[in-house]
Each structure stands twice: as C-alpha cells, then as structure tokens.
Amino acid sequence: MGSIKEVDDRFKKFGTVSFTSISKTNDFVDYLEKGKVMGTRCKDCGVVFFPPRAECHQCLASSMEWFEVSGKGKLVTFSKLQFAPVGFEEDLPYCIAVLDYGDYKVFGRIAGDLPEEEIKLGMEMVTAVNSLPNGQLNYVFKKA
C-alpha cells in the first residue's frame, strides 16, 4: 500500500462551474471563505495583479504577497445575459462586468438584486464575496 497523496484542489470551489481545480493561487478560495477577495503583489518589484497570480511577468520572481481588493471601483462596462453556457442556466439572467480600481481592474458579476435600470457606467461599486445556491463561491459588484 503506497501512501495516498492528497490533491490540493481547492480552486474547484470558485464560480458556479469551475474549470480549474488546482492552481498555485488556491489560497484565493480560502480568502473567499473568510469573506475576502484578494489579489497579489510582487514583493520584488511591487507590481499588483488582479486576478492574482503566482509569478511576476515583470521581474520573473515568485515571491508574491496577497492584498485585499477593497474600497470603491468604477464600473467600466457590463452586459446582462439572457442565455447562458452549459451549467449556468439556473443563474439567468445575470450581469457580467468590469470594475476599475485604478491600479488594476476586476472582472466579475454584478449582484443579482441590482435592477439593470440602476446600473450606470462610471458608477462606484464595491467587490464582495458571494455564496452561490450550489455551495460554490464567487464575488459580485454591489452599489457603493
């Protein structure tokens, strides 16, 4: 009997359907569970990344530290979907969007309880962790 190596597949919990289960950024999911949306910052050259990444393409270092996506961002653009890919039908309709924080941008969903008429480009929004009905986790943008 060989020892069974445990697979760290925490990433499979991200999103309605996750297409990735193993990543060097698996801690992102632990932070989501603690109610925090996190990006990474290169300890060597200081560049910030969202989505988070484990290696820096600017200086090629692997020394990253986590930072929290906090404060207000500005809504760059969005779209409300009436059709969904396989596995997302139960979520319809929903809005995907881009939020600009200045140093970085965040791609995600707009909170489902915000009516489309109230969504305006340029409006200030915050990013918050969201639990999905199927037990998965993602994050959404809410009116600031």
Binding site: S79, A84, K105, F107
Partner: protein
C-alpha cells in the same frame, strides 16, 4: 526577395449542418481552390490546417486531411488562433514561401460546429476566454462583445439603430451570396418589433440580429512564390502587408473597451509593410461576428475616426457604391461563422474582388483590398493587405 501571391481560392457553402464528415467538408473548399489555381495536388509543397480544435472529434485532423486530399507525402501541420486561425495560417504560409522553404503552400481552414449541440458550442465559446478567472462567472462570446458595445455607445453616442444598420447592410449582400447561410432581407422594422426574433435580447445591449450564426464550412487559400505564380497564374493577387497582434485574454487586463487594440496594432503593421494608408484601401472584409465588431473595425483600421463609425454606416459609405465598401459578400452576419474557415473565406472574397471576378457584388476596379480577422474577443488581431 521574391514576392508571395495568392494563386487559388476556394470555399464550401457555409451551412447549418453539413451532411458529411470533416474530411469531406474540407475537400469542397480545397477542390475549388486547386481548380481555381489550375494546378494539381502534386504542385502543393505543404499544407497548413486551421481550426478551433475544441469542435473536433478527430485527433490531429491535419494528417487525415493530407491523406484525403492527396497531399501525402508533403508535410502538413496545424495552427490555431480561434476565429482568426486561417489568417494565422496565411501568415505562416507566407513565411514558409518567403523563406524559400516551400514554393507553394495550401492553407486549409475548416469547422464543423454542428458536431456538437448549440449549448455545448456556447460552452466552448465561453472557454475561448480565461477559464480560470472569467468562465466561472458564466461568460459567452456575445456578452463580451456586448460589453464593448455598451462602452462604445456610452462613449460615442452610438445607438442600437446604428448597430442594426450594419446587419441590414450585411443582409443586403447576403441575399446575393449563394454560399451564405442567411440569405433573407433584414429591415429596421424587425429590430423595432419586440415580437420579432431579431429584436430579442441575447446579452444586453446586443440582440439576436446583432449576432452571426454558427455554421459548418471550409476554405482554402493557395500561396506561391513569384516564379511559380508567373508559371501558373494569369491574375495574381500579391500579399502586400501582414499584421498580427495580441491583447490580454482577461478583460481585467485591458485599457480600451471602445475598440480592439490588437486590431489597431495589426492594422498599423500591415499598412506600414504595404507602404499605404487607410485611404488607399478600395474594398475590405472585416470581422463582423457581431454588429459592434464591424463598427469598431472601421475605427480601428482608420476608415473612420474614433466614434465616427456611426457616420460611415449611416451615410452608406461602406456599401458597394460607397467610398470604402466593407463586407459586400454579406459578412459573417450573413455567411455564418465556421471559426477556422472564416479568415480564408474573407481572403477569398477580396481576391475575387481584386481579380474582377466577384459577380453581383463586384466593386468598381479595386486595386488594394484589406482583410481584418479577429480571434476571440480581440485576443488575436490579424490584418492582411492584398493588391493586384
């Protein structure tokens, strides 16, 4: 250095469900190009096969096609850049010929999207984006382009009517194209009638009428060096300029949302290589997977200033009789969009135009034509400039 010409072009009809296998589909476009070039398969030194692989059940289709098309023992290989795969194939074939490694190369694009269901197809299209950080939110191609449409409308005052005008133009010419999947007229009334299918929202602000349809199809472009071209071809069309650029996959990495930066850069490269400016283009094919994509192409290629694409479509300057005819074969909006075959089909249209063989859609004596072919949501930008 030897110039490189296109000496043969072909495509299958683009259809909803091709009644045959992928090798048979590919044969149709290939045969037309070989007959067009008046060569034999033995004259072809290598083949480049182009598609988006997620639709294929056949592993490594290049080898299967080489056998079926009678292209053994010549080398063959596969390239992919989503919806611009066959423009990338032409770029690669150009370098193979230009380097002297091969004298004549066939670029074969294909897609049989009906091998999988429509929703499976949408799931795969969504995975053309960033599967780790975007797809878990439930993304789809129309929604991404819709986000660009929203930003463009907000920044420049572009309207839904302007977008509808692009579809109406496409349908005007699609009716004349025997190889197009959608051949019916489209009117503004259809977009304004909430009961009409065309007006139904897909991903706001884009409606059904703003989106092209999936299709099955194949295309083939045959490139040759100057010596072979002079031996075989009476009406050569020369490759004058090539441009290719990329942008981040994840929208979070981008700064421009009212245009495609990869298209801007590819266009600038191609103009520079050809030694021309946008004013010199007599006829163009642009990647109108969605109506907004054609509007952005006008601006990104310099046919209009940023924000002024609406003036170009409103004044009908991109119609056949206008100052810069665009997509007078019906575009992807009418022809359908069989991913890997699309770029080749666009190149075929421009080659026929430059030869004066475009029939009912012939633009008056064009000398220089441009092809703008985009992969993904502005992920891969490819611009090709051809001249007679």
């Amino acid at each position: 250095m030897s110039k490189v010409a296109i000496i043969g072009v072909g495509q299958s009809a683009f259809v909803r469900q091709y009644p045959g296998s992928i090798r048979e589909l590919v044969f149709e476009g290939f045969r037309e190009a070989v007959q067009d070039a008046r060569i034999t398969t033995k004259d072809i030194d290598a083949s480049v096969i182009c598609s988006a692989p997620e639709y294929d059940k056949q592993r490594s289709p290049a080898g299967v096609f080489a056998e079926y098309l009678g292209l053994n023992p010549q080398p063959t290989f596969y390239v992919e850049s989503l919806c611009s795969s066959s423009s990338t194939g032409v770029r690669l074939a150009y370098s193979l010929v230009k380097s002297g490694l091969h004298d004549m190369v066939a670029v074969i694009g294909f897609q049989k999207m009906s091998e999988i269901s429509s929703s499976e197809s949408q799931e795969r299209m969504g995975r053309g984006a960033d599967i780790q950080w975007e797809s878990p939110f439930g993304t789809m191609m129309p929604a991404y382009y819709a986000m660009y449409a929203r930003a463009h409308m907000e920044k420049y005052g572009t309207t839904l009517e302007d977008l509808a005008c692009v579809r109406i133009k496409a349908a005007t010419y699609g009716q004349l194209n025997e190889k197009a999947v959608y051949r019916k007229p489209v009117t503004m009334d259809m977009f304004q009638d909430p009961e009409n299918r065309m007006a139904g929202s897909v991903a706001s602000p884009l409606r059904v009428g703003d989106c092209c349809a999936n299709a099955d199809g194949s295309s083939c472009i045959i490139l040759a060096n100057e010596e072979k071209t002079k031996a075989f071809c009476k009406k050569p069309v020369w490759i004058m300029g090539l441009g290719a650029a990329t942008e981040t996959v994840n929208l979070a990495g981008r700064d421009l949302f009212s245009g495609l930066s990869a298209a801007q850069q590819a266009g600038q490269q191609a103009y520079q290589m050809a030694g021309i400016t946008p004013k010199d283009i007599d006829v163009a094919e642009v990647h109108d997977c969605f109506t907004i994509a054609e509007m952005m192409a006008y601006e990104n290629l310099g046919f209009a200033q940023p924000g002024e694409s609406k003036d170009l479509i409103q004044s009908k300057e991109t119609y056949k009789e206008g100052s810069i005819p665009v997509n007078v074969d019906g575009g992807l909006l009418s022809k359908g969009h069989p991913i890997g075959a699309t770029g080749g089909s666009m190149i075929r249209t421009i080659v026929l135009q430059l030869r004066g063989e475009a029939g009912a859609i012939q633009v008056q004596e064009p000398e220089i034509g441009l092809i703008h072919n985009i992969g993904g949501v502005g992920l891969y930008g490819n611009v090709t400039i051809l001249g007679r």
